[in-house]
Symmetry: C2
Subunit: 67 residues, 2 copies
């Protein structure tokens, strides 16, 4: 299982899903679905988020134990 703290990062920058989506180049639903762990983004998306939030991918996304 993979988790992420996109919601937190977004709160730090106080930016909406909508705005983030536009910057990254995906839909608001895509951002929403990632935040809610409904799907696993591509590495390109992860790198773009990493770039935007100025944090390494590994600090935004991480694997959880128990498979």
């Amino acid at each position: 299982m993979m988790k992420n703290n996109l919601k937190v990062e977004r709160a730090i920058k106080s930016i909406t899903q909508q705005e983030l989506a536009k910057i990254i180049g995906v839909t608001r639903q895509a951002i929403n679905s990632i935040e809610l762990n409904k799907f696993v983004p591509s590495t390109i998306l992860a790198l773009k988020l990493s770039e935007f939030f100025n944090k390494p991918v590994n600090e935004i996304f991480f694997l959880e134990e128990t498979d």
Copy 2:
């Protein structure tokens, strides 16, 4: 465009695509296709590779300019 140095990392550990694939839990063709930039792996796969190679995702995968 995204690039990666999986081939180099693999050479450092002197491990075959086959072996790496088995460890990560994908097929040899998947590893091969990623190395040859034929497709973009999921963030989970990137994190597993990051874990195995003991290097941050951003040091294995990176965005290239010119789109």
